[in-house]
Amino acid sequence: MSVIETASATGTTSVEPARRMSANGWAIVVIFLPPALLLFTVFVALPIAQAAWFGFFNWDGYGRPERFIGLKNYGYLLNNATFNRSLINNGLVIAVSLLVQQPVALAVALMVAGRVAGAAWFRMIFFLPYVLADVAAGLIWHFMFDGGYGLSSVVTDALGLPPYYLLADKTWAFSAILIVILWKYFGFYTMLYVAGLQGIDRSLLEAAEMDGASAFQRFRHITLPLLGPMIRLAIFFSVIGSLKLFDFIPPLTGGGPFETTNTMVSYLYYFGITRMRFGFSSAVGFVLFVICVTFAFGYRRLFMRDD
Protein backbone atom coordinates (compact mmCIF):
# COMPACT_ATOMS: atom_id res chain seq x y z
CA MET A 1 0.00 0.00 0.00
CA SER A 2 2.58 2.48 1.10
CA VAL A 3 4.51 1.70 -2.04
CA ILE A 4 1.68 2.86 -4.23
CA GLU A 5 1.12 5.94 -2.14
CA THR A 6 4.71 7.06 -2.21
CA ALA A 7 5.04 6.26 -5.87
CA SER A 8 1.96 8.18 -6.87
CA ALA A 9 2.74 11.00 -4.46
CA THR A 10 6.24 11.66 -5.65
CA GLY A 11 5.51 10.57 -9.19
CA THR A 12 9.19 10.29 -9.89
CA THR A 13 10.54 7.08 -8.39
CA SER A 14 9.03 4.43 -10.60
CA VAL A 15 5.73 5.02 -12.26
CA GLU A 16 5.88 1.80 -14.17
CA PRO A 17 5.91 -0.66 -11.25
CA ALA A 18 3.29 1.42 -9.47
CA ARG A 19 0.98 1.01 -12.46
CA ARG A 20 1.53 -2.68 -12.55
CA MET A 21 0.91 -3.02 -8.85
CA SER A 22 -2.19 -0.99 -9.08
CA ALA A 23 -3.59 -3.26 -11.77
CA ASN A 24 -2.58 -6.15 -9.58
CA GLY A 25 -4.30 -4.45 -6.67
CA TRP A 26 -7.48 -4.01 -8.67
CA ALA A 27 -7.39 -7.68 -9.54
CA ILE A 28 -7.33 -8.41 -5.81
CA VAL A 29 -10.27 -6.11 -5.19
CA VAL A 30 -12.26 -7.62 -8.03
CA ILE A 31 -11.52 -11.24 -7.16
CA PHE A 32 -11.16 -11.27 -3.36
CA LEU A 33 -14.05 -9.06 -2.29
CA PRO A 34 -17.12 -10.14 -4.27
CA PRO A 35 -17.56 -13.65 -2.77
CA ALA A 36 -17.80 -12.31 0.77
CA LEU A 37 -19.88 -9.30 -0.25
CA LEU A 38 -22.26 -11.44 -2.26
CA LEU A 39 -22.81 -13.97 0.50
CA PHE A 40 -23.24 -11.22 3.07
CA THR A 41 -25.74 -9.39 0.89
CA VAL A 42 -27.81 -12.44 0.06
CA PHE A 43 -27.96 -14.00 3.52
CA VAL A 44 -27.56 -11.07 5.93
CA ALA A 45 -28.34 -7.65 4.47
CA LEU A 46 -31.19 -8.63 2.18
CA PRO A 47 -33.05 -10.74 4.76
CA ILE A 48 -32.91 -7.90 7.27
CA ALA A 49 -34.26 -5.44 4.72
CA GLN A 50 -36.95 -7.97 3.83
CA ALA A 51 -37.86 -8.43 7.49
CA ALA A 52 -38.64 -4.73 7.61
CA TRP A 53 -40.74 -5.03 4.45
CA PHE A 54 -42.55 -8.33 5.18
CA GLY A 55 -43.52 -6.96 8.58
CA PHE A 56 -46.17 -4.81 6.89
CA PHE A 57 -47.96 -7.81 5.41
CA ASN A 58 -50.20 -10.63 6.38
CA TRP A 59 -48.35 -13.41 4.60
CA ASP A 60 -48.19 -17.18 4.87
CA GLY A 61 -44.92 -17.36 2.95
CA TYR A 62 -46.38 -18.59 -0.33
CA GLY A 63 -46.34 -16.48 -3.47
CA ARG A 64 -45.54 -12.84 -2.91
CA PRO A 65 -46.63 -10.81 0.10
CA GLU A 66 -49.74 -8.96 -1.14
CA ARG A 67 -52.07 -8.36 1.78
CA PHE A 68 -50.64 -5.11 3.03
CA ILE A 69 -51.81 -4.40 6.56
CA GLY A 70 -49.62 -1.47 7.52
CA LEU A 71 -48.63 -1.49 11.16
CA LYS A 72 -51.19 -4.04 12.28
CA ASN A 73 -48.56 -6.66 13.09
CA TYR A 74 -46.81 -4.19 15.34
CA GLY A 75 -50.07 -3.08 16.90
CA TYR A 76 -50.89 -6.69 17.65
CA LEU A 77 -47.48 -7.20 19.27
CA LEU A 78 -47.92 -4.14 21.42
CA ASN A 79 -51.08 -5.54 22.98
CA ASN A 80 -50.13 -9.18 23.02
CA ALA A 81 -49.60 -10.49 26.54
CA THR A 82 -47.36 -13.36 25.46
CA PHE A 83 -45.07 -11.10 23.48
CA ASN A 84 -44.92 -8.60 26.31
CA ARG A 85 -44.07 -11.42 28.66
CA SER A 86 -41.25 -12.48 26.36
CA LEU A 87 -39.93 -8.91 26.32
CA ILE A 88 -39.96 -8.93 30.10
CA ASN A 89 -38.18 -12.27 30.10
CA ASN A 90 -35.44 -10.91 27.87
CA GLY A 91 -35.20 -7.98 30.28
CA LEU A 92 -34.87 -10.44 33.18
CA VAL A 93 -32.05 -12.25 31.41
CA ILE A 94 -30.25 -8.96 30.87
CA ALA A 95 -30.78 -7.94 34.50
CA VAL A 96 -29.49 -11.25 35.86
CA SER A 97 -26.57 -11.23 33.45
CA LEU A 98 -25.50 -7.77 34.52
CA LEU A 99 -26.34 -7.85 38.23
CA VAL A 100 -25.43 -11.44 39.05
CA GLN A 101 -23.41 -13.01 36.28
CA GLN A 102 -20.85 -10.26 35.71
CA PRO A 103 -20.09 -9.66 39.41
CA VAL A 104 -19.80 -13.41 40.02
CA ALA A 105 -17.54 -13.81 36.99
CA LEU A 106 -15.35 -10.94 38.13
CA ALA A 107 -15.11 -12.29 41.68
CA VAL A 108 -14.25 -15.76 40.42
CA ALA A 109 -11.70 -14.28 38.03
CA LEU A 110 -10.02 -12.53 40.94
CA MET A 111 -9.95 -15.83 42.80
CA VAL A 112 -8.47 -17.92 40.00
CA ALA A 113 -6.15 -15.29 38.53
CA GLY A 114 -3.99 -15.46 41.67
CA ARG A 115 -1.85 -18.25 42.96
CA VAL A 116 -4.55 -20.31 44.57
CA ALA A 117 -3.87 -24.05 44.46
CA GLY A 118 -5.19 -25.63 41.30
CA ALA A 119 -6.06 -22.30 39.66
CA ALA A 120 -5.60 -23.76 36.19
CA TRP A 121 -7.93 -26.65 37.01
CA PHE A 122 -10.61 -24.36 38.35
CA ARG A 123 -10.40 -22.17 35.26
CA MET A 124 -10.81 -25.21 33.05
CA ILE A 125 -13.77 -26.51 35.03
CA PHE A 126 -15.55 -23.15 35.03
CA PHE A 127 -15.09 -22.75 31.29
CA LEU A 128 -16.27 -26.28 30.51
CA PRO A 129 -20.04 -25.59 30.35
CA TYR A 130 -19.40 -22.89 27.77
CA VAL A 131 -18.25 -25.44 25.18
CA LEU A 132 -21.47 -27.44 25.55
CA ALA A 133 -24.28 -26.54 23.19
CA ASP A 134 -27.17 -24.68 24.80
CA VAL A 135 -29.59 -27.46 23.87
CA ALA A 136 -27.42 -30.07 25.61
CA ALA A 137 -27.01 -27.87 28.68
CA GLY A 138 -30.76 -27.25 28.61
CA LEU A 139 -31.57 -30.96 28.54
CA ILE A 140 -29.09 -31.72 31.34
CA TRP A 141 -30.84 -29.15 33.49
CA HIS A 142 -34.25 -30.36 32.40
CA PHE A 143 -33.23 -33.59 34.06
CA MET A 144 -31.92 -31.73 37.14
CA PHE A 145 -35.20 -29.85 37.50
CA ASP A 146 -37.42 -32.85 36.79
CA GLY A 147 -39.57 -33.38 39.86
CA GLY A 148 -39.37 -37.17 39.67
CA TYR A 149 -35.60 -37.29 39.14
CA GLY A 150 -32.57 -35.09 39.57
CA LEU A 151 -31.80 -32.37 42.01
CA SER A 152 -35.40 -31.36 42.49
CA SER A 153 -36.41 -34.83 43.65
CA VAL A 154 -33.45 -35.10 46.02
CA VAL A 155 -34.45 -31.85 47.71
CA THR A 156 -38.16 -32.67 47.98
CA ASP A 157 -37.42 -36.21 49.20
CA ALA A 158 -35.09 -34.90 51.89
CA LEU A 159 -37.76 -32.48 53.07
CA GLY A 160 -40.49 -35.08 52.83
CA LEU A 161 -42.41 -33.04 50.25
CA PRO A 162 -44.24 -34.26 47.18
CA PRO A 163 -42.30 -33.98 43.89
CA TYR A 164 -41.99 -30.43 42.65
CA TYR A 165 -41.85 -29.65 38.95
CA LEU A 166 -40.11 -26.29 38.72
CA LEU A 167 -40.36 -26.20 34.93
CA ALA A 168 -44.14 -26.56 35.16
CA ASP A 169 -44.54 -23.79 37.74
CA LYS A 170 -45.73 -20.74 35.87
CA THR A 171 -44.41 -18.35 38.51
CA TRP A 172 -40.91 -19.77 38.79
CA ALA A 173 -40.20 -21.67 35.59
CA PHE A 174 -38.31 -18.81 34.02
CA SER A 175 -35.98 -18.61 37.00
CA ALA A 176 -34.89 -22.14 36.08
CA ILE A 177 -33.81 -20.81 32.70
CA LEU A 178 -31.94 -17.97 34.38
CA ILE A 179 -30.07 -20.50 36.54
CA VAL A 180 -29.02 -22.47 33.48
CA ILE A 181 -27.80 -19.30 31.76
CA LEU A 182 -25.71 -18.40 34.81
CA TRP A 183 -24.35 -21.94 35.00
CA LYS A 184 -23.36 -22.07 31.37
CA TYR A 185 -21.97 -18.61 30.75
CA PHE A 186 -20.28 -17.30 33.90
CA GLY A 187 -17.11 -19.27 33.08
CA PHE A 188 -16.74 -17.53 29.73
CA TYR A 189 -16.84 -14.11 31.35
CA THR A 190 -14.53 -15.35 34.09
CA MET A 191 -11.96 -16.14 31.42
CA LEU A 192 -12.43 -12.74 29.81
CA TYR A 193 -11.71 -11.12 33.16
CA VAL A 194 -8.77 -13.43 33.81
CA ALA A 195 -7.31 -12.31 30.50
CA GLY A 196 -7.91 -8.71 31.54
CA LEU A 197 -6.31 -9.22 34.94
CA GLN A 198 -3.26 -10.81 33.41
CA GLY A 199 -2.78 -7.68 31.35
CA ILE A 200 -2.50 -5.49 34.43
CA ASP A 201 0.99 -4.40 35.31
CA ARG A 202 1.81 -6.02 38.65
CA SER A 203 4.21 -3.27 39.60
CA LEU A 204 1.29 -0.86 39.90
CA LEU A 205 -0.36 -3.06 42.50
CA GLU A 206 2.91 -3.65 44.30
CA ALA A 207 3.68 0.05 44.42
CA ALA A 208 0.23 0.76 45.85
CA GLU A 209 0.74 -1.96 48.43
CA MET A 210 4.06 -0.42 49.46
CA ASP A 211 2.25 2.86 49.90
CA GLY A 212 -0.10 1.14 52.32
CA ALA A 213 -3.16 0.76 50.14
CA SER A 214 -5.50 -1.93 51.44
CA ALA A 215 -6.56 -4.87 49.31
CA PHE A 216 -9.92 -3.26 48.69
CA GLN A 217 -8.38 0.08 47.77
CA ARG A 218 -6.08 -1.62 45.30
CA PHE A 219 -9.05 -3.38 43.75
CA ARG A 220 -11.23 -0.30 43.67
CA HIS A 221 -8.67 2.18 42.40
CA ILE A 222 -6.30 0.11 40.28
CA THR A 223 -7.71 -3.24 39.21
CA LEU A 224 -11.26 -2.09 38.53
CA PRO A 225 -10.43 0.97 36.42
CA LEU A 226 -7.85 -0.99 34.43
CA LEU A 227 -10.41 -3.71 33.82
CA GLY A 228 -12.85 -1.08 32.57
CA PRO A 229 -12.55 -1.85 28.86
CA MET A 230 -12.96 -5.57 29.51
CA ILE A 231 -16.01 -5.01 31.71
CA ARG A 232 -17.63 -2.80 29.09
CA LEU A 233 -16.92 -5.45 26.48
CA ALA A 234 -18.32 -8.25 28.65
CA ILE A 235 -21.50 -6.25 29.26
CA PHE A 236 -21.88 -5.67 25.54
CA PHE A 237 -21.65 -9.36 24.70
CA SER A 238 -23.80 -10.27 27.64
CA VAL A 239 -26.66 -7.99 26.55
CA ILE A 240 -26.53 -9.03 22.89
CA GLY A 241 -26.39 -12.68 23.99
CA SER A 242 -29.40 -12.15 26.26
CA LEU A 243 -31.41 -10.54 23.47
CA LYS A 244 -30.93 -13.44 21.06
CA LEU A 245 -31.57 -16.16 23.63
CA PHE A 246 -33.44 -19.09 22.15
CA ASP A 247 -31.67 -22.45 22.37
CA PHE A 248 -32.40 -22.99 26.08
CA ILE A 249 -36.14 -22.60 25.66
CA PRO A 250 -37.05 -25.72 23.62
CA PRO A 251 -35.13 -28.23 25.77
CA LEU A 252 -36.25 -26.72 29.07
CA THR A 253 -39.83 -25.50 28.75
CA GLY A 254 -40.82 -25.08 25.11
CA GLY A 255 -42.14 -21.68 26.12
CA GLY A 256 -44.58 -23.09 28.66
CA PRO A 257 -46.17 -23.38 31.15
CA PHE A 258 -48.95 -21.07 29.93
CA GLU A 259 -46.47 -19.34 27.59
CA THR A 260 -44.67 -17.72 30.50
CA THR A 261 -41.11 -18.62 29.51
CA ASN A 262 -40.78 -17.36 25.94
CA THR A 263 -38.09 -15.00 24.83
CA MET A 264 -38.47 -12.75 21.80
CA VAL A 265 -36.80 -15.30 19.56
CA SER A 266 -38.74 -18.28 20.89
CA TYR A 267 -41.92 -16.22 20.49
CA LEU A 268 -40.89 -15.53 16.91
CA TYR A 269 -40.34 -19.25 16.37
CA TYR A 270 -43.38 -20.72 18.12
CA PHE A 271 -45.91 -18.08 17.10
CA GLY A 272 -44.49 -17.10 13.74
CA ILE A 273 -42.39 -19.69 11.95
CA THR A 274 -44.16 -22.87 13.09
CA ARG A 275 -47.52 -21.30 12.20
CA MET A 276 -46.31 -20.07 8.82
CA ARG A 277 -47.05 -16.45 9.70
CA PHE A 278 -44.16 -14.89 7.85
CA GLY A 279 -45.32 -11.29 7.87
CA PHE A 280 -45.98 -11.46 11.58
CA SER A 281 -42.74 -13.23 12.49
CA SER A 282 -40.77 -10.80 10.31
CA ALA A 283 -42.27 -8.00 12.37
CA VAL A 284 -41.08 -9.72 15.55
CA GLY A 285 -37.62 -10.18 14.04
CA PHE A 286 -37.54 -6.55 13.03
CA VAL A 287 -38.45 -5.42 16.54
CA LEU A 288 -35.53 -7.48 17.83
CA PHE A 289 -33.30 -6.02 15.11
CA VAL A 290 -34.20 -2.47 16.11
CA ILE A 291 -33.54 -3.23 19.78
CA CYS A 292 -30.16 -4.84 19.01
CA VAL A 293 -28.98 -2.09 16.69
CA THR A 294 -30.17 0.70 18.97
CA PHE A 295 -28.41 -0.92 21.88
CA ALA A 296 -25.22 -1.63 19.92
CA PHE A 297 -24.92 1.88 18.52
CA GLY A 298 -25.95 3.60 21.73
CA TYR A 299 -23.69 1.49 23.88
CA ARG A 300 -20.67 1.91 21.66
CA ARG A 301 -21.19 5.62 21.46
CA LEU A 302 -21.66 6.02 25.19
CA PHE A 303 -19.29 3.52 26.71
CA MET A 304 -16.85 2.13 24.22
CA ARG A 305 -15.57 5.28 22.59
CA ASP A 306 -12.06 5.13 23.93
CA ASP A 307 -11.61 1.37 23.94
Binding site: L37, M111, G114, A133, L197, L205, D211, F237, K244, L268
Partner: protein, 295 residues
Amino acid sequence: MTETSIAIEGAAAAAHETSGRPPGALASVALLAALVVLAGIVLVPILATVVGGFKELGDLQSRPFSLPRVWVWKNYWDILTGSRYWQVLGNSLLIAVLTVALTLALSSMAAFAFAHLRFFGDRFLLSYIQLGLLFPLATAIPPLFIKVRDLGLLDTYWGVILPQVAFSLAMSVLLLRNAFKQLPSELLDAAMMDGCGYFRFFFYVTLPLSGPILSTVAIISFVESWNAYLLPLIVFNSESRYPWTLGLMAYQGQYSTQWQLVLAFITLTILPAILMFLMAQRYIVAGLTAGAVKA
Protein backbone atom coordinates in the same frame (compact mmCIF):
# COMPACT_ATOMS: atom_id res chain seq x y z
CA MET B 1 -3.44 6.42 47.75
CA THR B 2 -3.86 8.21 51.10
CA GLU B 3 -6.76 10.39 50.04
CA THR B 4 -8.74 7.29 49.20
CA SER B 5 -8.15 5.53 52.47
CA ILE B 6 -11.57 6.43 53.80
CA ALA B 7 -13.28 4.46 51.08
CA ILE B 8 -15.69 2.16 52.87
CA GLU B 9 -17.65 0.01 50.52
CA GLY B 10 -18.95 -3.51 50.14
CA ALA B 11 -17.01 -6.70 50.56
CA ALA B 12 -14.16 -7.28 48.19
CA ALA B 13 -12.19 -9.80 50.16
CA ALA B 14 -11.21 -11.61 47.01
CA ALA B 15 -9.46 -8.55 45.64
CA HIS B 16 -6.20 -9.19 47.42
CA GLU B 17 -5.62 -12.15 45.16
CA THR B 18 -4.44 -9.82 42.47
CA SER B 19 -1.54 -8.72 44.57
CA GLY B 20 1.55 -10.83 44.56
CA ARG B 21 1.43 -11.61 48.26
CA PRO B 22 -0.03 -14.95 49.30
CA PRO B 23 -3.10 -14.51 51.48
CA GLY B 24 -3.34 -15.66 55.08
CA ALA B 25 -3.91 -19.34 55.76
CA LEU B 26 -7.52 -18.93 56.86
CA ALA B 27 -8.43 -16.75 53.93
CA SER B 28 -6.86 -19.14 51.48
CA VAL B 29 -8.76 -22.09 52.95
CA ALA B 30 -12.01 -20.14 52.64
CA LEU B 31 -11.11 -19.19 49.10
CA LEU B 32 -10.32 -22.76 48.16
CA ALA B 33 -13.55 -23.94 49.77
CA ALA B 34 -15.54 -21.41 47.75
CA LEU B 35 -13.87 -22.52 44.54
CA VAL B 36 -14.47 -26.19 45.31
CA VAL B 37 -18.16 -25.53 45.95
CA LEU B 38 -18.44 -23.59 42.72
CA ALA B 39 -16.62 -26.32 40.80
CA GLY B 40 -19.07 -28.79 42.32
CA ILE B 41 -22.03 -26.75 41.08
CA VAL B 42 -20.53 -26.74 37.62
CA LEU B 43 -19.56 -30.41 37.52
CA VAL B 44 -22.38 -32.20 39.34
CA PRO B 45 -24.99 -31.84 36.57
CA ILE B 46 -22.48 -33.06 33.99
CA LEU B 47 -21.31 -35.98 36.13
CA ALA B 48 -24.89 -36.90 37.05
CA THR B 49 -25.65 -37.01 33.32
CA VAL B 50 -22.69 -39.23 32.50
CA VAL B 51 -23.32 -41.61 35.41
CA GLY B 52 -27.10 -41.48 34.92
CA GLY B 53 -26.61 -43.01 31.51
CA PHE B 54 -25.30 -46.16 33.22
CA LYS B 55 -28.37 -46.63 35.41
CA GLU B 56 -31.67 -48.39 35.27
CA LEU B 57 -34.66 -46.08 35.31
CA GLY B 58 -35.72 -46.99 38.86
CA ASP B 59 -32.21 -46.51 40.16
CA LEU B 60 -32.03 -43.12 38.48
CA GLN B 61 -35.33 -42.11 40.01
CA SER B 62 -34.48 -43.04 43.60
CA ARG B 63 -30.79 -42.04 43.70
CA PRO B 64 -30.01 -39.58 40.87
CA PHE B 65 -26.61 -38.51 42.23
CA SER B 66 -25.07 -41.73 43.47
CA LEU B 67 -23.17 -44.38 41.58
CA PRO B 68 -25.32 -46.95 39.79
CA ARG B 69 -26.38 -50.00 41.77
CA VAL B 70 -25.77 -51.99 38.63
CA TRP B 71 -23.68 -50.56 35.83
CA VAL B 72 -25.89 -50.84 32.77
CA TRP B 73 -23.63 -50.66 29.75
CA LYS B 74 -26.45 -51.45 27.41
CA ASN B 75 -27.77 -47.86 27.33
CA TYR B 76 -24.51 -46.61 25.89
CA TRP B 77 -23.80 -49.72 23.85
CA ASP B 78 -27.10 -49.57 21.98
CA ILE B 79 -26.54 -45.95 21.01
CA LEU B 80 -22.95 -46.57 19.95
CA THR B 81 -23.84 -49.56 17.82
CA GLY B 82 -26.86 -47.89 16.24
CA SER B 83 -26.51 -45.68 13.17
CA ARG B 84 -28.41 -42.69 14.55
CA TYR B 85 -25.65 -41.37 16.79
CA TRP B 86 -22.95 -41.58 14.14
CA GLN B 87 -25.21 -40.07 11.54
CA VAL B 88 -25.97 -36.92 13.55
CA LEU B 89 -22.31 -36.49 14.49
CA GLY B 90 -21.28 -36.97 10.87
CA ASN B 91 -23.80 -34.38 9.72
CA SER B 92 -22.60 -31.88 12.30
CA LEU B 93 -18.98 -32.51 11.38
CA LEU B 94 -19.61 -32.08 7.68
CA ILE B 95 -21.54 -28.85 8.21
CA ALA B 96 -18.93 -27.48 10.62
CA VAL B 97 -15.94 -28.36 8.45
CA LEU B 98 -17.46 -26.80 5.34
CA THR B 99 -18.53 -23.74 7.34
CA VAL B 100 -15.02 -23.27 8.70
CA ALA B 101 -13.35 -23.81 5.32
CA LEU B 102 -15.63 -21.37 3.55
CA THR B 103 -15.43 -18.81 6.35
CA LEU B 104 -11.64 -18.91 6.32
CA ALA B 105 -11.44 -18.65 2.55
CA LEU B 106 -13.95 -15.82 2.07
CA SER B 107 -13.02 -13.78 5.11
CA SER B 108 -9.26 -13.97 4.64
CA MET B 109 -9.60 -12.86 1.04
CA ALA B 110 -11.90 -9.98 1.89
CA ALA B 111 -9.81 -9.03 4.91
CA PHE B 112 -6.67 -8.96 2.76
CA ALA B 113 -8.26 -6.58 0.28
CA PHE B 114 -9.50 -4.35 3.09
CA ALA B 115 -6.14 -4.42 4.86
CA HIS B 116 -3.87 -3.54 1.96
CA LEU B 117 -5.81 -1.75 -0.73
CA ARG B 118 -7.38 1.67 -0.93
CA PHE B 119 -10.10 2.01 -3.53
CA PHE B 120 -13.26 3.96 -4.02
CA GLY B 121 -15.80 2.92 -1.40
CA ASP B 122 -13.48 0.73 0.65
CA ARG B 123 -14.48 2.30 3.96
CA PHE B 124 -18.12 2.02 3.02
CA LEU B 125 -17.88 -1.65 2.09
CA LEU B 126 -16.01 -2.45 5.28
CA SER B 127 -18.66 -0.71 7.40
CA TYR B 128 -21.29 -2.53 5.39
CA ILE B 129 -19.88 -5.91 6.36
CA GLN B 130 -19.34 -4.74 9.94
CA LEU B 131 -23.10 -4.17 10.18
CA GLY B 132 -23.29 -7.91 10.72
CA LEU B 133 -21.78 -7.41 14.19
CA LEU B 134 -24.78 -5.44 15.35
CA PHE B 135 -27.51 -8.04 15.20
CA PRO B 136 -27.78 -11.81 15.57
CA LEU B 137 -28.98 -14.29 12.98
CA ALA B 138 -32.21 -14.78 14.90
CA THR B 139 -33.49 -11.35 13.82
CA ALA B 140 -33.53 -12.40 10.17
CA ILE B 141 -34.86 -15.93 10.58
CA PRO B 142 -38.22 -15.52 8.76
CA PRO B 143 -36.85 -13.92 5.56
CA LEU B 144 -33.84 -16.22 5.78
CA PHE B 145 -36.17 -19.20 5.68
CA ILE B 146 -37.89 -17.76 2.61
CA LYS B 147 -34.53 -17.06 0.97
CA VAL B 148 -33.19 -20.55 1.65
CA ARG B 149 -36.44 -22.05 0.37
CA ASP B 150 -36.51 -19.94 -2.80
CA LEU B 151 -32.92 -20.91 -3.56
CA GLY B 152 -33.96 -24.54 -3.30
CA LEU B 153 -31.68 -25.10 -0.32
CA LEU B 154 -34.26 -26.23 2.24
CA ASP B 155 -33.30 -29.54 3.80
CA THR B 156 -29.77 -29.35 2.37
CA TYR B 157 -26.46 -28.87 4.13
CA TRP B 158 -25.77 -25.73 2.12
CA GLY B 159 -28.96 -24.20 3.44
CA VAL B 160 -27.28 -24.13 6.84
CA ILE B 161 -23.68 -23.61 5.77
CA LEU B 162 -24.11 -20.52 3.58
CA PRO B 163 -26.13 -18.41 6.08
CA GLN B 164 -23.74 -19.47 8.86
CA VAL B 165 -20.74 -18.32 6.85
CA ALA B 166 -22.51 -15.10 5.91
CA PHE B 167 -23.29 -14.28 9.53
CA SER B 168 -19.76 -15.08 10.69
CA LEU B 169 -18.16 -12.83 8.06
CA ALA B 170 -18.51 -9.60 10.03
CA MET B 171 -16.52 -10.87 12.97
CA SER B 172 -13.97 -12.88 11.01
CA VAL B 173 -13.22 -10.15 8.47
CA LEU B 174 -12.69 -7.72 11.31
CA LEU B 175 -10.36 -10.06 13.23
CA LEU B 176 -8.35 -10.97 10.14
CA ARG B 177 -8.12 -7.45 8.76
CA ASN B 178 -6.75 -6.17 12.06
CA ALA B 179 -4.21 -8.98 12.14
CA PHE B 180 -3.16 -8.53 8.51
CA LYS B 181 -2.65 -4.83 9.03
CA GLN B 182 -0.34 -5.55 11.94
CA LEU B 183 2.09 -7.54 9.84
CA PRO B 184 5.17 -5.36 9.30
CA SER B 185 4.57 -3.18 6.24
CA GLU B 186 8.24 -3.62 5.29
CA LEU B 187 7.32 -7.15 4.28
CA LEU B 188 4.87 -5.92 1.70
CA ASP B 189 7.24 -3.18 0.51
CA ALA B 190 10.08 -5.65 0.09
CA ALA B 191 7.87 -8.20 -1.63
CA MET B 192 6.58 -5.57 -4.05
CA MET B 193 10.11 -4.43 -4.82
CA ASP B 194 10.98 -7.97 -5.71
CA GLY B 195 8.08 -8.09 -8.10
CA CYS B 196 5.90 -10.31 -5.95
CA GLY B 197 2.28 -9.45 -6.65
CA TYR B 198 -0.51 -9.24 -4.11
CA PHE B 199 -1.71 -12.73 -4.93
CA ARG B 200 1.58 -14.38 -4.16
CA PHE B 201 2.06 -12.14 -1.14
CA PHE B 202 -1.30 -13.29 0.16
CA PHE B 203 -0.55 -17.00 -0.27
CA TYR B 204 3.15 -17.05 0.60
CA VAL B 205 3.48 -14.34 3.24
CA THR B 206 0.18 -13.23 4.76
CA LEU B 207 -1.46 -16.61 5.27
CA PRO B 208 1.61 -18.48 6.59
CA LEU B 209 2.31 -15.67 9.06
CA SER B 210 -1.29 -15.55 10.30
CA GLY B 211 -1.61 -19.03 11.74
CA PRO B 212 -2.76 -17.97 15.22
CA ILE B 213 -5.49 -15.59 14.07
CA LEU B 214 -6.68 -18.00 11.39
CA SER B 215 -6.99 -20.72 13.99
CA THR B 216 -8.88 -18.32 16.25
CA VAL B 217 -11.38 -17.68 13.48
CA ALA B 218 -11.54 -21.40 12.70
CA ILE B 219 -12.21 -22.31 16.35
CA ILE B 220 -14.93 -19.68 16.74
CA SER B 221 -16.77 -20.66 13.59
CA PHE B 222 -16.37 -24.38 14.28
CA VAL B 223 -17.82 -24.13 17.79
CA GLU B 224 -20.65 -21.88 16.59
CA SER B 225 -21.53 -24.27 13.81
CA TRP B 226 -21.14 -27.42 15.93
CA ASN B 227 -23.51 -26.04 18.58
CA ALA B 228 -25.96 -24.33 16.21
CA TYR B 229 -29.61 -25.10 16.76
CA LEU B 230 -31.99 -22.42 15.47
CA LEU B 231 -30.85 -22.31 11.86
CA PRO B 232 -30.75 -26.11 11.33
CA LEU B 233 -34.13 -26.25 13.05
CA ILE B 234 -35.78 -24.16 10.35
CA VAL B 235 -33.78 -25.59 7.42
CA PHE B 236 -33.95 -29.37 7.93
CA ASN B 237 -36.97 -31.62 7.60
CA SER B 238 -35.34 -35.02 7.15
CA GLU B 239 -33.93 -36.65 10.23
CA SER B 240 -31.21 -38.18 8.07
CA ARG B 241 -29.66 -34.71 7.73
CA TYR B 242 -30.08 -33.59 11.34
CA PRO B 243 -26.98 -32.28 13.09
CA TRP B 244 -26.50 -33.60 16.62
CA THR B 245 -28.31 -30.73 18.34
CA LEU B 246 -31.51 -31.53 16.43
CA GLY B 247 -30.86 -35.25 16.71
CA LEU B 248 -30.58 -34.93 20.48
CA MET B 249 -33.89 -33.08 20.74
CA ALA B 250 -35.56 -35.64 18.49
CA TYR B 251 -34.15 -38.47 20.59
CA GLN B 252 -35.38 -36.82 23.77
CA GLY B 253 -38.81 -36.38 22.18
CA GLN B 254 -38.92 -40.07 21.38
CA TYR B 255 -37.62 -41.40 24.71
CA SER B 256 -38.80 -38.64 27.01
CA THR B 257 -39.98 -41.08 29.66
CA GLN B 258 -36.66 -42.93 29.73
CA TRP B 259 -34.25 -40.44 31.18
CA GLN B 260 -31.44 -43.01 31.42
CA LEU B 261 -31.38 -43.32 27.62
CA VAL B 262 -31.63 -39.56 27.10
CA LEU B 263 -28.77 -39.00 29.54
CA ALA B 264 -26.62 -41.55 27.73
CA PHE B 265 -27.39 -39.88 24.42
CA ILE B 266 -26.57 -36.43 25.84
CA THR B 267 -23.28 -37.75 27.21
CA LEU B 268 -22.25 -39.26 23.92
CA THR B 269 -23.20 -36.21 21.89
CA ILE B 270 -21.35 -33.75 24.14
CA LEU B 271 -18.35 -36.09 24.35
CA PRO B 272 -16.60 -34.81 21.19
CA ALA B 273 -16.80 -31.21 22.39
CA ILE B 274 -15.53 -32.13 25.84
CA LEU B 275 -12.67 -34.25 24.48
CA MET B 276 -11.62 -31.54 22.08
CA PHE B 277 -11.79 -29.00 24.86
CA LEU B 278 -9.65 -31.11 27.18
CA MET B 279 -7.06 -31.79 24.48
CA ALA B 280 -6.79 -28.27 23.11
CA GLN B 281 -7.95 -26.31 26.13
CA ARG B 282 -5.45 -23.49 25.83
CA TYR B 283 -6.18 -22.80 22.19
CA ILE B 284 -9.92 -23.05 22.58
CA VAL B 285 -10.14 -20.72 25.57
CA ALA B 286 -7.74 -18.28 23.94
CA GLY B 287 -9.58 -18.50 20.62
CA LEU B 288 -13.08 -18.03 21.98
CA THR B 289 -12.14 -15.19 24.30
CA ALA B 290 -9.86 -13.50 21.76
CA GLY B 291 -12.78 -13.39 19.37
CA ALA B 292 -14.64 -11.26 21.86
CA VAL B 293 -11.70 -9.12 22.90
CA LYS B 294 -10.21 -8.27 19.56
CA ALA B 295 -13.42 -7.52 17.72
